[in-house]
């Protein structure tokens, strides 16, 4: 596994083994060179120990470029994005490696209004970084640093405008915070609105997380799911370290497939929204199409990765889009300015339970069953075109989409084969309405093996 990744998504790596202070300084200076000056730049971080080092470097790089910096301290990515818009900042930097394990860290960059950088802006940021021609301010124009502690409260205020918190007081909810920033927000929310939240792994941790911070059913099954029935809870949620993704457990203690979050939130959101477009990637469940069709909406499928979703969002008027998301539990809603926000997603699910007066397991049971199989195999990148051509030839009877590898759709099943952006492996995903498409999945894996 690579220990450092510098891409359009920013800077990510294992601190000390790939990601160094020098990378941080140069990336911060590149971002400071990219964005307009005159308004402050916000900085926040997740509780990883290395965050202290990255923060010093980011602050130094931005100050040196003449930007005033406002430090939000420990803050989740959605809180930082919210604060950028509220404080009319020039942009922001989120320090945190989200769903990666504790020894990783990363920098994510945001423009004014808290938006993710466009593909063109990301490319320019990388160019500046690689050239290392930074526009440092002269000595008397170096920026100044201040701190701001009200970001979480302002964010909570905004959530309260969208969701009926008093109406959710009847629910008992168990949340696995994975020692991350969700703890900060949920504790505040529960105290302010009298919500019956039971938080586990609440202590924010810098070094040893209670478990891998992935929002998958397997992880949700470890510590969260077994607590739900004994505590007589109505639902359980699991967040990654910076709470942009979530996993869901029913009141019976059953972890749901990560694929379920997007279709459920779409089902809740579409009747409330004017927008009739749902944006998702090619690897996400076809249940999204089925739910969208019920509400007279359509699904736009884009390549895997946050950047493709962001570019797709930019290609429509904001009121045309009802929501966007992916099968990893990351969902963006227009009320929240289209940022991946696990906590908003959780409240959408709880509101759905309340409005329908149904338990979570009942809501889930009402959806048709889809079975998804996911696998990966090593394959040299140069063999990929041959593989895709071979698969396209063999599965001519389906509808092909080549926006990102190859996706082939039939009326009740589909597969998606693509090269990972992070490793030299091929990912194979196969889904069928009803029973798992085992034969198709095995045959796809065999074909990858035969080329390897």
């Amino acid at each position: 596994m690579k220990k450092l990744r510098i891409s359009a998504a920013g800077l990510r790596g294992v601190v000390g083994c790939g990601l160094t202070a020098a990378h941080v300084l140069d990336f911060a200076a590149a971002f400071g060179t990219l964005i307009e000056s005159g308004r402050p730049v916000l900085v926040g971080r997740d509780p990883r120990a290395s965050g202290a080092m990255l923060r010093e470097g980011v602050v130094a790089g931005l100050l040196a470029c003449g930007h005033d910096v406002t430090d939000l301290g420990i803050a989740s990515t959605p809180v930082i994005q919210h604060a950028i818009r509220r404080m009319e900042a020039a942009g922001g930097v989120s320090i945190g490696a989200s769903h990666n394990s504790a020894e990783w860290n990363a920098l994510k960059f945001f423009g004014p209004r808290g938006t993710y950088l466009s593909t063109a802006e990301s490319a320019e940021l990388l160019d500046i970084y690689h050239l290392r021609k930074f526009t440092f301010a002269p000595w008397d124009k170096v920026g100044t640093l201040r701190t701001e502690s009200g970001a979480v409260d302002a964010y909570v205020d905004d959530l309260a405008r969208v969701f009926d918190f008093p109406g959710l007081r009847g629910f008992r909810v168990v949340v696995d915070c994975c020692n991350g920033t969700s703890a900060l927000i949920l504790r505040r929310l529960a105290d302010r609105f009298g919500l019956d939240f039971i938080l586990i792994n609440e202590r924010m941790e810098g070094v040893s997380l209670a478990h891998e911070p992935a929002t998958t059913p397997r992880i949700a099954g470890l510590q969260l799911a077994p607590l739900i029935r004994p505590l007589n809870a109505d639902a359980g949620f699991l967040f990654d370290v910076d709470s942009d993704r979530l996993a869901i457990c029913t009141e019976e203690g059953t972890p749901l497939s990560e694929e379920m979050a997007l279709p459920m939130i779409a089902d809740y959101q579409l009747p409330k929204s004017e927008g009739r477009i749902v944006i998702t990637n090619l690897s996400t469940t076809a249940l999204v199409e089925e739910v969208a069709a019920r509400h007279g909406a359509r699904v736009v499928r884009v390549a895997v990765g946050r950047q493709a979703t962001i570019d797709a969002l930019a290609a429509y008027r904001p009121d045309q889009v009802a929501l966007a998301g992916e099968g990893t539990g990351a969902v963006m809603m227009p009320q929240f300015r289209f940022v991946y926000d696990g906590i908003a997603s959780m409240f959408a699910i709880l509101s759905m339970m309340r409005e329908r007066g149904q338990t979570l397991s009942r809501i889930v049971a009402a959806y048709p069953r889809y079975s998804i199989l996911k696998g990966e195999l090593p394959l040299a990148s140069q063999r990929m075109p041959a593989l895709l051509m071979e698969l396209q030839r063999r599965y001519r009877d389906g509808r092909a989409n080549v926006a990102d590898g190859l996706r082939v759709d039939w009326p009740d099943r589909w597969f998606h084969v693509r090269v990972s952006q992070t490793e030299p492996v091929v990912r194979v995903i196969c889904e069928q309405r009803g029973e798992p498409p085992v034969a198709l999945f095995e045959s796809l894996l065999d074909q990858v093996r035969s080329l390897a």
């Binding site: 020098a22 300084l25 120990a49 790089g61 504790a102 000595w139």
Partner: protein, 453 residues
């Protein structure tokens, strides 16, 4: 070689440059990481003067230290001697002061200290520089990364206590001295007020004590830059005026008439005061006035001479166990009993102590010193010609005593001449001193004629 302006200098004395295009946060971070790798994982004290670029560089330095697995202790805005004393006292691995001392405001620099709070010696400096150039830094992983600690409270008290135990504090307090202060809006802005008003009970008239404002005058405290202090002394009827540089290691003194004393005389007064209270000899550099020799002789003590440079003086003080040392021309007073560093607070305390003890005015104390006349100048440095020049100079004064440890110093019965090449610029610096004004002028002119021929 053509004369150049050095906007960035990375060398054995650390890293110094014009902030912006030259001294960048990346450089400061990398240098701090090399420093952290050199001193090892543990506490490293980080403080700064009041320059606008200070916080930016401090964050870059802390980034590099954290990346090396060190635990930075942020002591905020403090004079360099206070940072050094705190570093030594708390047994930290080392310390970094972010200050370009008396250089103009567009400059900044990192001053580096070892675990004893002393400037790195020659060997330590070159080892660190090698480490920096090799870029083989220790890279701490997540579990090894510490947090930045803060201590804004203890350092000042620690420093004051160290200084005041060597003087008769009660006697000074009882006099309620009327004192004027010019802290150049530097690191002494807050500390010096506290020191003079609260610790020494002076009636203080202070200017340029706002650490948030830029330097109001040339940062180096010299007679020609201290007009405002002189005016303040006169208008407030102060008995003495003190001026600091931005990082509070250098001191200049103004008497009650508004006359700025010669730095060599200030050092001599401090030496006199110190020798009355402490055993041991005196160490000064070759360019320091003979007035210090006269003072030491009166106490029956010896004077050791070193090449110019604080580190040289400090090393000699350690070697001979001296009571006091300093460099006359730049206002540096080093009292090892306080700490082996230049310290303006030691200077202030000893002068006030002497005034309290004798009941004399500062002008009267200065007038009691033997009178010397000095001339300073500079000439272009030409590398290939230096040896011939030095020899020609020596030949001109066949009866003189010579010292070649830092350029050439020629000592005659009537006075001396010292010619040396600058450590920072391609220049020769010339100093001449004699008992009479004519004598100083003669020595100086004779030397300059030769150098310019």
């Amino acid at each position: 070689m053509p004369r150049r302006e050095h906007l960035l200098k990375i060398g054995v004395s650390g890293i110094r440059g014009v902030v912006g295009e030259f001294l960048t946060p990346s450089l400061a971070c990398a240098f701090a990481q090399a420093f952290g790798a050199y001193v090892g994982p543990g506490r490293v004290v980080v403080g700064r003067d009041t320059r606008r670029s200070g916080p930016m560089l401090q964050h870059a330095v802390c980034c590099g230290l954290l990346a090396a697995g060190c635990e930075p202790v942020d002591v905020g805005v403090l004079p360099t001697p206070t940072i050094q004393i705190y570093t030594g006292h708390t047994r930290a691995r080392g310390g970094i002061a972010i200050t370009a001392s008396h250089n103009p405001p567009e400059y900044n620099a990192l001053k580096l200290f070892n675990g004893a709070g002393l400037f790195f010696n020659t060997y330590e400096r070159s080892e660190l520089l090698d480490l920096y150039h090799q870029s083989e830094f220790r890279q701490a992983v997540n579990a090894e990364i510490r947090r930045v600690r803060r201590d804004y409270e203890t350092p000042a008290g620690l420093h004051f206590e160290r200084v005041l135990r060597h003087i008769n504090t009660e006697a000074v307090r009882a006099r309620r001295f009327r004192v004027a202060l010019d802290a150049v809006n530097g690191a002494g802005s807050l500390l010096s007020r506290r020191f003079l008003e609260q610790e020494l009970q002076c009636r203080l008239h202070a200017i340029f004590v706002d650490p948030d404002l830029p330097f109001p005058r040339v940062a180096e405290p010299r007679p020609d830059t201290l007009g405002e202090l002189a005016a303040l002394v006169r208008s407030s009827g102060s008995e003495i005026g003190f001026a600091q540089d931005p990082d509070g290691d250098r001191l200049a003194v103004c008497d009650e008439t508004g006359r700025v004393l010669d730095n060599d005389d200030v050092l001599a007064l401090a030496v006199d005061a110190a020798l009355r209270r402490l055993p041991g000899d005196v160490v000064v550099n070759l360019t320091t006035s003979s007035v210090t020799d006269d003072v030491a002789r009166a106490h029956g003590r010896r004077v050791y001479r070193t090449p110019v440079g604080e580190a040289n003086v400090v090393e000699m003080i350690q070697a001979v166990g001296a009571a006091i040392g300093g460099e006359g021309s730049n206002g540096g007073i080093i009292l090892p009993a306080v700490h082996l560093c230049r310290d303006s607070y030691t200077g202030m305390a000893f002068l006030l102590d002497r005034m309290a003890e004798t009941g004399l005015r500062i002008s009267e104390l200065a007038a009691r010193l033997p009178r010397y006349f000095r001339r300073f100048g500079q000439a272009r440095y030409e590398h290939g010609r230096l040896g011939a020049l030095m020899q020609a100079l020596e030949d001109q004064f066949p009866e003189a005593e010579t010292d070649r440890s830092d350029g050439l110093k020629i000592t005659l019965a009537e006075g001396w001449v010292h010619v040396r090449s600058s450590n920072t610029e391609p220049l020769l610096r010339i100093a001449a001193e004699a008992r009479s004004e004519d004598g100083a002028e003669r020595l100086f002119a004779q030397t300059m004629r030769l150098l310019e021929s």
